[in-house]
């Protein structure tokens, strides 16, 4: 009996010992309800934070999809794609607290094609800004709480030089001088011809001032100081809160007329900073440019601004919805010229390159965003603004108020997608013909333009509604999917074709692949549980 007892005890002990082992924790972490998915040139990327990876979905002929995993940092805080959709940036907070050498530091992972490069940071920062030209990326704390450490420097900006490999001097950290403000938005300027030569600047908007940082000398030691412009309207101590900046290089033959214009959310002034030579006696090692500040009252809080070229020269165009006017500001003299608009448009963009038949010395701007539905969009011909401003605006009346405008790549740059504010439909605007073809939707449509400019995809997030629209014929093709679509990404296939990867949430995520050039539900292929694969 004693032997039997011992035998049973040993057996049970062995089983108990085996039960102590466990699988990696990733298997116990559901991926969430909605996938964080992004479209790159040749792949759709699903960020799988629980597994510390990005799942890259590549399309092949016959709607075959293959998945590869790329490692990313732990605890994803922010993600962004480059404007050319070539790269995905994943900002991660790392493991907090770090208890062992295996625990990760905060990092930025740059996914480019099939490779991933990781830059390590010292502290977690929750916001990300990406250079439209592709040279820089910047992480900053901002005012959000994501990834915040116990003690954080909200004015620290970490700059990543994407043209160089990670190293001791890449990234570089800069703390901008603060008068109490906290960075809200970062803007990378194009190359500007400044007195010291061609330069690229980082414009930092805090909640009360604007800072200019010379990116071409950001890694110098000692670093060149940034230039902080405190924003006041001159009437009192009230701080002005920047709401957007625009940049213009001015005359390409001059090095003293680059300008930055700033609008604010709480003041009627437009502030222009002309970047001229540094004053005599400026300390050595400092910046070789200096901003001259100009304030111009436009009669109301501007909702949007842009540098435009008129028949009277360079102007800052400001839309003032409260007065229903646009105001042209001469940045040199601060003289203003109001232009009465047929509706209180709130947004504008310059479309000269598209609508002008040849090299035009003056601009054409597209206006939209008026609350009155019938006001649609308007073309503002700035070549007539100085002499006959009242004849310079042509309205294209639409049935809906326009909320957003999206560009269409070549070969159809003349097209713009106008989404109604009510999101009950959209229009395909032909800038050259000045026509707007309506397309109605049964639900709230999200639009995705194919990078090859040939078609758009409309889907209703959270539903199975999906359609393709040929931009040449505007012929819609309804498509069927089994599960609600979270994102639609038109990607290049390895055989030269194109595919739509419709990513679906729920479970371990799915994807339905269509032939983008001949979309048909009958030839589509559905994939399931895509974040269960590749974890061995």
């Amino acid at each position: 009996m004693r032997t039997k007892t011992r035998l049973a005890a040993v057996t049970l002990s062995a089983i108990a010992a085996a039960a102590c082992s466990s699988r990696p924790s990733v298997w116990d972490q559901p991926p969430g309800d909605a996938p964080r998915a992004f479209g790159l040139t040749s792949a759709a990327i699903v960020v799988d934070d629980g597994a510390h990876r990005a799942v890259s979905l590549h399309a092949h002929a016959d709607q075959v999809l293959t998945a590869t995993s790329l490692p990313i940092g732990h605890n994803v805080l922010a993600t962004a794609t480059s404007p050319d959709a070539a790269r995905l940036f994943v900002l991660a907070g790392g493991d907090a607290p770090r208890r062992s050498a295996k625990d990760e530091y905060p990092s930025l992972t740059v996914i480019d094609g099939g490779s991933a490069v990781r830059f390590t940071m010292a502290e977690p920062l929750g916001n990300l800004a990406v250079d439209p030209v592709g040279r820089w990326a910047a992480a900053f704390a901002g005012s959000g709480g994501a990834g915040q450490a116990f003690v954080q420097n909200p004015n620290e900006i970490v700059l990543f030089d994407l043209s160089a490999p990670p190293g001791p001097t890449n990234p570089v950290s800069r703390t901008i001088r603060s008068f109490g403000g906290v960075p809200r938005r970062l803007t990378f300027t194009p190359t500007l011809l400044l007195p010291g030569g061609p330069r690229r600047l980082l414009v930092v908007e805090t909640d009360q001032d604007v800072t200019l940082l010379d990116l071409d000398h950001v890694s110098e030691s000692p670093p060149r100081p940034e230039i902080t412009v405190r924003l006041t309207n001159g009437d009192g101590a009230a701080q002005l809160e920047p709401a957007g900046v625009v940049v213009d290089d001015g005359d390409p033959t001059r090095s003293d007329d680059a300008r930055v214009a700033v609008r604010t959310s709480n003041d009627t002034n437009v502030i222009t900073l002309q970047l001229g030579p540094a004053p005599a006696g400026a300390p050595a090692g400092g910046n070789d440019f200096f901003p001259t500040i100009n304030l111009t009252d436009v009669g109301g809080i501007p909702s949007d601004i842009a540098f435009v070229r008129t028949d009277g020269g360079l102007r800052v165009a400001a839309l003032v919805p409260t007065s229903g006017d646009a105001v042209l500001v001469d940045p040199t003299t601060s003289i203003t010229e109001p232009v009465s608009l047929p509706a209180a448009y709130t947004r504008l963009s310059v479309v000269t390159d598209i609508v002008a038949s040849g090299a035009s010395p003056t601009d054409v701007a597209l206006l939209w965003g008026a609350e009155v539905a019938s006001s649609g969009v308007a073309f503002w011909t700035l070549g007539q603004s100085a002499g006959q401003p009242y004849r310079s605006v042509e309205v294209l009346g639409l049935a809906d108020s326009i909320g957003t405008v999206a560009d269409v790549p070549s070969p159809h740059p003349e097209l713009k997608l106008l989404q109604s504010a009510a999101a009950s439909g959209f229009y395909v605007l032909d800038l050259r013909a000045r026509t707007a073809a309506p397309l109605t939707t049964l639900g709230t449509a999200t639009l995705a333009v194919a990078p090859d400019g040939q078609r758009l995809w409309a889907f209703d997030p959270g539903t199975t509604q999906l359609a393709s629209v040929d931009l040449a014929t505007l012929h819609p093709v309804p498509l069927f999917v089994d599960h609600a679509v979270s994102g639609a990404f038109d990607v290049a296939r390895d055989d030269g074709g194109r595919a739509l990867v419709a990513v679906q949430g729920g479970g371990a995520f799915g994807a339905t692949v269509f032939d983008a050039l001949a979309p048909d539900s009958a030839t589509a292929r559905a994939y399931s549980a895509i974040v269960l694969g590749g974890l061995q």
Partner: protein
Amino acid sequence: MKLAFVVTALGITLSAATARAEGERPSRPMGEALPVWTGEIGYRASFVTDPGLNPFSPDDQLGQFSMGAERAVFARGRFAFATGLFWDVGGTSATARGDDASIIVHRFTLPLEARFGFAPWLYAFTRASAGAALVRAEVDDFTAPAHLIHSSWVPVLDLSAGGAYRIGNGGGEGKLGVWVIAEGGYGWAGRASLLLSPDLASDDPRRTGSVDLGTISLHGAFLRTGLALAF
């Protein structure tokens, strides 16, 4: 650690058997006194550390119902040799990132067993078993049009040792008795694919793709305990 427990268990079994057998004298060669026919049912616990099992098991364990029959085909002195057929069936299930995942394994083996009799009621054995296993993996995912499944056959091989002890006062040489059998060892299995596809009807027009969970090899230490009817 797991193997240490197995070896310890065998040691205890053998030492106890030797002590009890010292006071008995077999009436004929011990090997011939051991059971000729054995029918066994029991439980096989396998400890599989292969990462392929992770979606299907939270603790690396694979439990199976075990059933088998053997016949002694040769006996000399204290030794006897037996062969037969075993079928282990069972599986494990878990939640894999929110999805229900399960794996079922049918393991068919032909054992070759060498027995060493300590007494008519106690013997130790070593066993080598070869055969094949049917591995069926299944995942239920919200986005899938049907269960995601994959089945494949893989070769298997077990090497084990154990002991058998007749319980109760009934039985005797050539008579039906109830035996307790315990064994431990190592089981090897070929690597099976885990390329799961929706289990759609053959006439379903939908075109689907597969999800690749990698591969799995169900190798590892195992323990098997059971009861046998033998005579």
